[in-house]
């Protein structure tokens, strides 16, 4: 029984916008909250806004953290959005130190003091190499960001999108079947929807 994309609900943030975004581009997506449900979906989205520590505690508390890692080990696609991207890394320096899921080795650190934080608004993403997630999206296009911390993956090759804001930071990561975007595709108008459409295609393509 396949259900398209599962949007993981772990008690934080607004999932409805992500769901509506997929709906708009004709990709079947449903909100799911129980660890045993994840296996039913062809691909997963890990959304999230708010504090890193609270989010990871929620994920672990209801058994979702282990279920997500097992899902990724099975080779299926997962896309983290905003805080959901940060949760994929090893740890975050937000409020001391919190351990993440560790599926993309690296850390999450605060944006430098010289720029206004949170980084909120439309900024460019430069795309250093072709990846299926950004098919049809020109390098240098603008996306909508709201965040104060950013991902610092251990390996440069995992960075698939770069944004200048005080530093040149990884605004998108990709490692095999795991993807993350720091911006909100569901709030980034036509090009953001294009990314959701691409992810839908990658997920169904993986089943062929």
């Amino acid at each position: 029984m396949t259900r398209g994309i599962g949007i993981i609900d772990y008690g934080v943030g607004n999932l409805r916008s992500v769901e509506k975004g997929f709906e708009k581009v004709g990709v079947s997506a449903r909100i799911c909250a129980r660890p045993e449900e994840l296996d039913d979906y062809d691909g997963l989205v890990l959304p999230g806004v708010g504090a890193f520590g609270d989010a990871i505690e929620n994920l672990k508390g209801i058994g979702l953290a282990d279920a997500i890692i097992a899902y990724i080990d099975s080779g299926r696609q997962l896309l983290g959005i905003c805080l959901g991207m940060q949760l994929l890394l090893t740890y975050s320096e937000e409020h001391g130190r919190s351990e993440g899921l560790g599926v993309i080795p690296g850390s999450v650190v605060r944006l430098p003091g010289e720029v206004k934080v949170p980084h909120m608004g439309w900024n460019v993403m430069n795309v250093p190499k072709d990846v299926p997630l950004f098919e049809g999206v020109d390098s240098g296009s603008r996306f909508y960001f709201v965040h104060s911390f950013y991902c610092l993956p251990d390996e440069a090759e995992w960075t698939v999108g770069v944004t200048p804001y005080g530093v040149e930071f990884s605004s998108a990561v990709g490692r095999e079947n795991v993807w993350g975007v720091q911006f909100h595709p569901e709030k980034s108008s036509l090009l953001g929807l294009e990314i959701l459409r691409n992810f839908g295609r990658m997920v169904t393509g993986a089943r062929k």
Partner: protein, 258 residues
């Protein structure tokens, strides 16, 4: 670098856009959600819905509007108008809005700013400030849609809302609102100088030069306008092209596969 934002604002009463709107290519421009989706496709960076439905009517109009907009709008949007409790804010954000704006309620109970910023994050909390110049050349805060003078100094209030946790200020000049003579440059410049959070300039936009003047001369992060877009005097993309021609960084709407 962040792009300067262009934000169309819609006044909504009982689910309908209030100010007369003329669009030949839009079947129902009186429907705020249809109009918002149109602005999204045209390249607006963010949208503001100001719900002016009288408070004694159904209080869920704002939540409904937030939810309906979420079905068709894929850029950030703000809901404002008579928001006075954390529960209002929670429901509006959950329905899909990205931010709420508060005005009179914030003046009457400034702790609302801090409580909502702590609970939902500063990035969700926009404080709308309506100002008018006094005889001595300073500016005063007005509430209740610009009708009620408060005696509060506008620059003091702007720094105070930042201290209390506001993530952004939507600054409207009541002297300029509706005049189409351009934004209040001195007032906007003074607020931008005194706070470090983003400021949205509002009130008085009548032509594209006004948008550029505000951005170039005040340090504001965004410009809000209603009539120049509602009456289709200019499209959003014309505004973007004009600002870009003056060297201002803007997001140009790309056209994707659909």
């Amino acid at each position: 670098m962040l792009a300067k934002r262009i934000i169309p604002c819609m006044d909504v009463e009982s689910g309908r856009v209030v100010k007369g709107v003329h669009f030949v290519n839009l079947r129902d421009a009186g429907d705020p959600v249809k109009l918002a989706a149109f602005y999204d496709r045209e390249g607006a960076d963010e949208l503001v819905f100001l719900d002016i439905t009288a408070s004694h009517e159904e209080r869920d109009t704002k939540v409904e509007l937030a939810a309906r907009a979420g079905d068709e709008v894929f850029i950030p949007y703000v809901i404002g108008g008579g928001i006075g409790s954390l529960e209002d804010i929670r429901r509006i954000l959950k329905a899909g809005a990205d931010k709420v704006s508060m005005n009179t309620a914030a003046v009457e109970d400034p702790s609302l700013i801090t409580r909502s910023a702590k609970r939902f994050g500063s990035q969700c909390v926009v404080v709308a400030i309506d100002g008018r110049m006094r005889a001595d050349g300073t500016w005063e805060v007005f509430t209740h849609g610009g009708r009620t003078p408060t005696g509060i100094d506008l620059l003091k209030w702007a720094t105070e809302v930042q201290r209390l946790g506001a993530g952004e200020i939507m600054l409207t000049s009541m002297d300029r609102d509706g005049t189409k003579k351009g934004y209040d440059i001195p007032m906007t410049r003074a607020v931008c100088r005194d706070v470090s959070i983003p400021v949205i300039a509002s009130g008085g936009a009548g032509k594209l030069e006004h948008l550029a003047e505000a951005i170039e001369q005040t340090g504001c992060d965004a410009v809000l306008a209603a009539s120049i877009f509602h009456y289709h005097e200019h499209t959003i993309s014309e505004a973007k092209q004009y600002l870009a021609s003056r060297g201002i960084e803007v997001r140009q709407q790309a056209h994707s596969g659909n």
